[in-house]
Amino acid sequence: MNAPEPKGSFKQVGTRPIRPDGVEKVTGKAIFGTDYKAANMLHGAIVRCPHPHARIKSIDTSKAEAVPGVKAVVTGADFPAIDDVMVRTGEVASSTLDLAINIMAKDTAYYDGHAVAAIAALTRQAAIEAARLIEVDYEVLPHVIDINDAFAADAPKIKESIETAGLAEGEEGRPNASLKFPSVKGDPDAAMAGAAHKVSGHYSLKPVHQGYIEPHAAVATWKADGKLDIWCSSQGAFDVRGLTAGVLHLDIGSIRVMPLEIGGGFGGKTTIYLEPVAALLSKKSGRPVRFVMTREEVFRATGPAAGGEIDITLGADADGNIVAADIEFQYSSGAFAGADTWAGVMHSVNHYAIENFKVVGWNVLCNMPKHAAYRAPGAPQINFAVESAVNDLADKMGMDPIDLRLKNAVKPGATGPMGNQLGEIGLVECLEAAKAHPHYSAPLGPNQARGVACGSWMNYGGPSTAAVSLADDGSVLVTEGNPDIGGSRASMALMAAETFGIPYEKVSVTIADTSSIGYSMVTGGSRTTYATGIAVIEASKGVIEILRDRAAKMWECDVSEVEWGEGEAICTGGENKGKTFPLTEIAAKAGATGGPIAFENGVNPLQHLPGYGVHICDVEVDKETGNVSIARYTAVQDVGKAIHPSYVEGQMQGGAVQGIGWALNEAYIYNKDGRLDNAGFLDYRIPVASDMPMIDTVMVEKANPGHPYGVKGVGEVPIVPPLAAVGTAVSRAVGKPMRSLPITPDKVQASLNGG
């Protein structure tokens, strides 16, 4: 891959221009998933199961079909036979087996909110009315929601098909465990036995929702020629296309997905819920069909992230070197197998150089929606236990918690838990920056305490495509396939401008539909600025090669005698030596030198590096009411090179606040009947502006040699450290360990009152 540019040579990268799509978004003109309307479209409504687990004995749609304005009704029976189609979604393959059932139940509903039927009608009103008239005869089955209940050896099996993968010869599985994933290094038992200091604890976390403010929405139109058009907001139109094709057994080429502006995803919009349903209703009715979820539907049927139950013991020698880690945990994944357990194991102790560890992860199914990716999926939960335990170890040894981490931090050249070598990683620099930050040594007020934690995310690269073309006036037009969730158009424009050596304003960026650009994996996995950025830079370099060739023609010299400078071709030989052609002039002459100038290419870079962050949190606790407030917060992170620093800071601040919400307030709460009890923003409490202080950020820039401008992924790392940083701060203020999230006022008060 390309060597990094010499430091300090950047003219565009590292500046903070206004994002290209900014004006549209501050004036209300941007068209989001919930805003798109198709001519003559119908409105959809979904009938959802009110039970956590039930067999569907029969569905009577006759009354609903009789409602004036109702044009089509579908149930699970209208979907193709469920089979196991592997859909390549770039990063991993998804099986449509679970996905299809999660989108529309067939014979069994697995959670409160599981879709069992859908209606398309002339008005949303009529669709909702008709939905209430669909009669479903349920046989309610035993349910398990809490991880401990679901993991019990005698738990009711929520699906006959569940088998525990990853067991050793003759080892017993669990009724609802789909996976046991052990990762062992060295001789943990012997090392633990010999450890001078040990700390142990049990940590609990509830499932939490991604909490994007834009509900899921989609419009689909099934055309007479059998082709399907979809307009929706997602983290990846190509994967919406692939997954929809897999569920409906269609050719990928027959589907075109138009990406609309996306109102937040955080991983939760890397999958699909509505598109195949809208498509089938459109096929039946012959008209476009639109779905927009209510907030209640979003909570009951989409997301959430895994809850966890974690047992951990850490052992250190007399000098504070962590010599052994023994961790066993269970993650929930809803009623279908999930992937977070892998990531949980891989992100448990990968930021420390520990020679002996045993980490065992279990994936446990329960009667909840199919869990979805949430920002560093699987990492924050395990990190809460590991970093809290490291803080306990520091307390026990009377060591500064950052010094203890510095002693054990992974350094460049270390071997990661997956066996591959870690390159230019920046954990040590982050820890040093945190220790040097004024916050870390600032005096605390009454009833205040401080917590610190670090964390990592592996990040990703993967497939992306970009095209760059020139207009006659020299305007540079970048086309890419990654939805812009947090300012990525600005980053792409900056990288293209840097490559050409032209002003940012000369570059425009378009996010194309799935038929107008090559495959690009989701905007997620902290991959977009890295991988799609490389695609944009490579496409720009391709155009520069064409520009050199065109200039050579105009100078009647050999292309080897043409160099590319800052936005212009320079002749280095022959009679025109020293002459220059600005990009604009070459573009103007394109017709005479061989036609339009454009270059498209696809890349699949995997020279990404893990990202690391260190967070410092001060809390203040009301010792009588148990209320906790965040007094001060600082996030330090190795960001490689910040292309647009404001949006990198924004990722750090937003991730930190999501983590704070997870630590203090957010949780899925089910009642005894297995129904979700807080399916709204009133009782699913995400942080509000008055809950938060300013979030101070420190960007440590340790360039990634695997990216031309040194980019490392930044989006996911910031949600990893906050849980332990907040939890440790509250524990110290209370004087007792607070190891069960969320740390609500009643838990704090009970702990203070000796509960």
Binding site: I18, Q125, I213, E261, G263, R295, E649, G650, G654, F681
Partner: protein, 162 residues
């Protein structure tokens, strides 16, 4: 269901629409008038993405019935900029990168403008409490609060200059 004929003023323009008695002002704006700048994030007044100004007071348009707007004045995000001239709040949101996904942004801008018309010199705490009814999941609020404080400073300068 019998439809109600409503005559109202939206961003200074006389507008008419037909609505059902149970339809919200938000739905009327988005579906009857095609003004999709105001967003629905919750439909229960908990997220503020649908914030509009009704007779001079900011409200959640999802908690107003469309029929209530008869004879009243409604100001929405579409009316914040004057032609192509952005309001200082909008400009400062851009300069401070106070939006990531941008879905909550219209509600924040309408609410922030309403604040600065009532309180030209708010403290950070006043800004945070005034905006507590507007949820943002992307930014952690830091850059939004800075943008509003910047806009307040600029508007104060404009006043003194004028």
């Amino acid at each position: 269901m019998s439809r109600i004929h409503v005559t109202t003023t939206v961003n200074g323009d006389a507008r008419e629409y037909l609505c059902s008695p149970n339809q919200t002002l938000l739905d009327a704006l988005r579906d009857e008038l095609g003004m999709t700048g105001s967003k629905e994030g919750c439909g229960s007044g908990d997220c503020g993405a649908c914030t509009v100004v009704l007779d001079g007071e900011m409200v959640c348009s999802c908690l107003v019935l469309a029929g209530e707007a008869e004879g009243r004045r409604v100001d929405t995000i579409e009316g914040v900029a004057e032609g192509s001239d952005l309001h200082p709040v909008q400009q400062k949101f851009l300069e401070n990168a106070a939006l990531q996904c941008g879905f909550c942004t219209p509600g924040f801008i309408v609410a922030s403008k309403a604040l600065l018309e009532k309180n030209p010199n708010p403290t950070e705490t006043e800004v945070r409490y005034w905006l507590a009814g507007n949820l943002c999941r992307c930014t952690g609020y830091d850059k939004i609060v800075r943008a509003v404080m910047d806009a307040a400073a600029e508007l104060r300068q404009e006043r003194t200059a004028a």
